[in-house]
């Protein structure tokens, strides 16, 4: 890790087309032009052949070819960083996982995996494209992780340490175990089915009893490992539920599997009566497949520690004496002093010791306006410093911060959420139990009527009622629906959420960023056109959101030149334009400097934030700022109402602003609540949960615990990571129109599920009727059985659940 290690040499050759460094392996020594890739070679040839070579002479083309942040990545070599993210792998080598931004394709794999060729000491680089994770190994005596990270950035991939290491390993182990179970149970199921087919076929052509016994014993021998290994998950989970004195869907499944297996085993030993092994192993296999489909859909599990990292910056600027070091945020301890530059997120909770600034707390509290802070004030992790550079003495770090506690609360809230028991799962378990009882009765009754056919009829019943179709109907339909929804920009994680969303209930919406745009805009302006260039000139010296709002409201206005502009935090901006003194800012600030003879201060509507403009000591203009309601919010709220939903607003913003929003959207005042802290939002959701399912829609961290607690949580585009992790559904297109599509799609999905269940149950009832009355024999039953599965699969596949084109 010595800092004396030289930068990797790129041989100093730049691509003739794009200007990026050419890798040593690609340099053609004799050629006049050098290219970093064949794409550039083609582009160069095309441009030259078209006589457009002058393009390469133009100056602006020679600008930075790739946007480089110029980061040194020095913190990657910090001992604290190594403790957290770097493992020794033996042979004196170190290994770390880096999350790379901007990875998409085959050339990315190629580029990243060239690292060992270019950097002496880098031993191995391996990229996982879908997860954008690069695993790098290097020799600390020859190079450092920072050098590798700098090289990766030169290639266009800024890197971050991957934090979810442990949770990720656990998840990977779970995935592999699940896959092994499916593979093993599938192999066993196919073989038991083959043997069963031989037995059924032998039923007609008088198979010798010796062979029959042989095949039955083989079935038993194959089923034992299926029960003991892949099937064990159902027994352990059912046993766990019973011990907790609860019943869930695994209980009837375990009973059915256990009873079927025990009866079959006894019958094998006594050499009489049906064996149920084929049904048992097929059920294990199909249930596991259904579960795997669901599990894959709900991948990104919310781990409080992981979320915390996503919201707080990975590095902090630690102040020690006169020097400032970039250190990992995890290494900060209470008492340390960190510097937070303007525009940077604040890494920990702390007290300001130096500097005055504005802090945007919308992520944490939902307030739409930044608050001004000065020495002595508390600032919190997860908020952003929008004003000037401040120094903060750390009071709480990591999970002890307000944000950290909020995320722990979020995890707890999600744990309290009652699991949605899917109709089909519930049905399948009881269905199997009922079939087993019915088969037993059939055998007993027929035994009295005609002992020679009793077994036939019982077996036919068991085959024809194989619940494969039933077990597949719901997961399959939902998987198809989730895939269709994703194409329509609706990402559904907990597929079971569809079942709740299909029935009208209560829906609570956050205001800031959900119903509204979530950013400040100029909503009202009273004053002279001539003031605009001067206002823009002054606001160019401010980094307050009001300044940005002025600029985006008047993008084409000419800009004057201000002299002596000065920003007063929490007040406004003063300065002179063409010799006239101007002041732009909050009423209190401006009225202290100027008179308001025209009472312009009163002209701003009450639900907007007023800003006054004074020229030469007289107030000449008044502007009102607000967070405008999204254009489609009113229509979406109205359509949801028509579908039977009860709509409420739950916001952390000022009650007066929330009331105004509610009124313009037609939400009754009783259902609109403002000034709610994240904790109050959870309480409100819990209160309403008593009356039925609650759907929470939001975008911020302040909504996350409520989203986690609600029956179904929905995150909207642009939302915070914690909110998205807590949400069951994420709307990737902006606005609330996708919300209506989601509700309508869920209704259609549930209708399809009901239809498939009805078909498979109806089919099974008819088949069971035929078998019990002795109309069909086992072979015909064995042919009929897959027909119902195929019908259900086709129905799920062809179903119109979500429309990909809005």
């Amino acid at each position: 890790m010595s800092p004396a290690v030289a930068e990797p040499t790129l041989a100093g050759v730049d691509c003739s087309h794009c200007g990026l460094p050419v890798l040593p392996g690609d340099i053609a020594p004799e050629a006049g032009q050098q290219f970093c890739c064949s794409g550039c070679r083609t582009a160069w040839a095309l441009i030259s052949a078209s006589g457009l070579s002058a393009y390469y002479e133009s100056d602006d083309r020679r600008g930075a070819p790739v946007r480089l942040s110029g980061r040194r990545y020095d913190e990657f070599d910090h001992p604290a960083f190594h403790r957290l993210y770097v493992q020794a792998i033996g042979g004196g080598l170190l290994e770390a996982e880096l999350y790379l931004q901007g990875v998409h394709c085959a050339s990315c794999v190629w580029l990243v995996e060239q690292v060992p060729l270019v950097i002496p000491g880098a031993v191995r680089a391996e990229l996982n494209v879908p997860r954008s994770l690069a695993r790098v190994q290097w020799d600390p005596a020859l190079t450092s992780l920072a050098a590798i990270a700098r090289f990766l950035e030169q290639l266009g991939y800024p890197s971050h340490p991957f934090r979810g290491g442990r949770a990720d390993q656990r998840r990977r182990a779970e995935d592999r175990a699940m896959l092994v179970r499916i593979g093993v149970s599938g192999a066993i199921a196919i073989n038991v089915m083959t043997v069963a087919l031989a037995l059924y076929a032998g039923w007609f052509g008088a198979m010798e009893p010796g062979y029959v016994r042989y095949f039955r014993w083989i079935s038993l021998g194959l089923t034992v490992p299926a029960i003991a290994w892949p099937g064990r998950v159902f027994f352990t989970s059912a046993w766990g539920a019973l011990r907790a004195r609860r019943v869930h869907m695994d209980v009837p499944i375990a009973i059915a599997l256990g009873a079927g297996f025990a009866r079959g085993a006894v019958n094998t030993v006594t050499d009489a009566g049906p064996i149920y092994f084929d049904g048992v192993v097929t059920l294990i296999f199909l249930l596991l497949v259904g579960r795997y489909l669901q599990q894959r859909a709900q991948r990104a599990a919310a781990d409080a520690a992981e979320l915390l990292h996503g919201l707080t910056p990975s590095t902090a600027r630690l102040v020690e004496g006169d020097s400032i070091d970039e250190v990992p945020s995890e290494s900060l301890v209470p008492g340390a002093v960190v510097e937070v530059r303007a525009g940077d997120p604040i890494p920990t909770d702390g007290q300001i010791v130096d500097g005055r600034s504005n802090v945007d707390r919308s992520l944490l509290t939902g307030e739409s306006m930044p608050v001004s802070v000065e020495p002595g004030d508390m600032v919190y992790a997860g908020t952003t410093n929008t004003g000037a550079t401040i120094r903060v003495r750390v009071t709480e770090a990591g999970e002890a911060t307000r944000l950290g506690r909020l995320l722990v609360e979020l995890e707890a809230a999600m744990g309290r959420r009652a699991p949605v028991v899917q109709t089909a799962d519930r049905l399948a378990g009881w269905f199997v139990a009922a079939v087993l009882i019915l088969a037993g009765l059939t055998y007993l009754v027929w035994h009295r009527i005609d002992p020679t056919v009793a077994l036939d009829h019982a077996i036919a019943l068991l085959i024809v009622t194989c619940p494969c179709a039933l077990a597949l109907a719901t997961p399959l339909t939902m998987t198809v629906a989730v895939g269709r929804a994703a194409k329509a920009g609706i990402l559904i994680r907990g597929a079971d959420a569809l079942e709740i969303l299909a029935r009208p209930a209560t829906m609570l919406l956050d205001k800031t960023g959900t119903l509204t745009e979530g950013r400040l805009q100029l909503m009202a302006w009273e004053g002279d056109e001539q003031l605009k260039p001067a206002i823009l000139a002054l606001e160019a010296h401010s980094n307050h959101p009001v300044a940005r709002a002025f600029e985006s409201a008047w993008p084409t206005e000419p800009r004057a030149l201000a002299t002596g502009a000065r920003q007063t935090l929490g007040g406004g901006v003063t300065g002179s334009v063409d010799g006239v003194d101007f002041a732009v800012g909050a009423p209190a600030f401006v009225l202290a400097l100027a008179l308001d003879p025209d009472h312009l201060a009163q002209s701003v509507p009450a639900d907007l934030t007023p800003v006054l403009v004074a020229a030469a000591g007289i107030v000449r203009g008044a502007a009102g700022f607000g967070d405008p309601i999204r254009p489609d919010s009113a229509a979406a709220v109205a359509s949801l109402r028509r579908l039977g939903w009860r709509i409420g607003i739950l916001s952390g913003d000022a009650p007066s602003v929330v009331a105004a929003t509610a009124e313009s959207l037609g939400v009754s005042a009783a259902d609109a609540r403002g000034g709610a802290t994240p904790e109050a939002k959870v309480a409100e959701v819990e209160r309403r949960l008593a009356a039925g399912p609650v759907v929470m829609v939001g975008d911020g961290v302040n909504d996350a615990p409520a989203i986690g607690r609600a029956s179904v949580g929905i995150g909207v585009r642009g939302g915070a990571e914690a909110c998205l992790a807590a949400a069951d559904v994420f709307l990737a297109r902006s606005g609330l129109t996708p919300l209506v599509a989601l509700i309508a799609g869920s209704e259609r999905t549930l209708r399809v599920i009901r239809r498939t269940i009805a078909v498979s149950v109806g089919y099974n009832i008819i088949g069971a009727g035929l078998a019990v009355t002795g109309v069909i024999n086992p072979l015909i039953a064995a042919i009929m059985m897959p027909v119902s599965s195929v019908t259900v699969i086709l129905m799920a596949w062809r179903s119109e659940t979500f429309r990909t084109k809005p």
Partner: protein, 53 residues
């Protein structure tokens, strides 16, 4: 048909080998990432020093 008493165990032995191979491959992480290896083979492997894999 006595051949069945030999052939069925042989067939099951073959199944056992297949299942064993699958379990081994899964535990080695062969199914963790199904996308990247497909892209990795597109790369020319001619240049560069020998990489111990």
């Amino acid at each position: 048909m006595t051949i069945l008493f030999i052939l069925v165990p042989v067939a099951l032995g073959v199944v056992l080998i297949g299942v064993g191979a699958f379990v081994w491959a899964t535990r080695k992480g062969q199914f963790d990432d199904l996308e990247t290896p497909a892209l990795r083979v597109l790369r020319d492997d001619t240049e560069g020093p020998d990489r111990t894999r």
